[in-house]
């Protein structure tokens, strides 16, 4: 059952991401990106990372995509002009480059991957306390400094955004 779900969800995710890139209206692109990110959250659930799945839905689709939609509506962007229809050099180069990258990455990753040393957090251990508790404990003990540093980072980003987006400084 999880295998079938994995294939269905990854197919939906890749199709939605492809549609983000291929179609012209910005709002539809954001909606397809939302579909892609929600199916990615489903993939995280299959992998047993429940906290990350919830964070994906809350942060990515709930905050970042809504921010994108706000900006699109603020700038009143319409469907893109189709003046550049037809094959242009940049588009062919970009598509071929992406295909080459996919071939390289896929070829490397499909081969035998020698995994590193196994850690202590097997699924049984995590299931005793719950994924969120395990992640939270690690965040507040081993990774305390990066955790607090991200709060400073978000604060800096907040100040920067407010200054950048003001009409008159």
């Amino acid at each position: 059952m999880p295998a079938v779900l994995f294939y269905i969800l990854s197919l939906v995710m890749l199709a939605a991401a492809l549609l983000v890139v291929l179609q012209t209206h910005p709002v539809y692109s954001v909606v397809f990106a939302i579909i892609s990110f929600v199916s990615l959250a489903g993939l995280f659930l299959i992998l047993g990372a429940e906290f990350i799945a919830a964070a994906q839905i809350i942060v990515y689709t709930g905050a970042i995509m809504v921010l994108f939609l706000f900006v699109i509506m603020l700038l009143n962007l319409r469907r893109e002009d189709i003046e550049e229809r037809g094959v242009s050099l940049m588009k062919t180069a970009g598509s071929i480059g992406a295909l080459v990258l996919l071939g390289l990455l896929g070829g490397v990753l499909a081969g035998k991957i020698s995994l590193g040393p196994q850690g202590p957090f097997s699924q049984e251990v995590i299931r005793q306390a719950g994924n969120t508790q395990a992640v939270g404990r690690a965040l507040f003990t081993d990774f305390l400094f990066p955790f607090e540093a991200t709060s400073v980072l978000i604060f800096v980003a907040l100040v920067g955004v407010v200054i950048l987006a003001k009409k008159k400084l």
Partner: protein
């Protein structure tokens, strides 16, 4: 159980789609959206390895990647708004004053 390489191939495909979006599109907002798609592909790689290596480090890193992605998206969109106010367009081909 789905083998690890399947997850990694899906992640590689998602990353390649993001790269194609950055290279092919001219709308600055769609370029940013493609960058977010690339970041999500990397998140999938991290979580897949975290599961198959019995370690939580992958998920911790994903937490920080999401935070940084949110901050970067906000700042990037603010820059796009400023550029739009000056140039009346989000087309990246029009923002070429530094071109030689």
């Amino acid at each position: 159980m789905v083998p690890l390489s399947h997850y990694l191939i899906v992640s590689a495909a998602l990353f390649a789609i993001g790269v194609a979006g950055v290279l092919v599109r001219r709308n600055a907002i769609i370029i940013f959206l493609s960058i977010e798609i690339m970041l999500n592909a990397v998140n999938l790689t991290f979580v897949a390895f975290s599961r198959y290596l019995d370690s939580l480090n992958g998920q911790i890193i994903v937490f920080f990647v999401m935070t940084v992605a949110a901050a970067e998206a906000a700042v990037g969109l603010a820059i796009i708004v400023s550029v739009y106010r000056n140039r009346e367009s989000v087309d990246v081909d029009r923002v070429n004053l530094l071109k030689g």
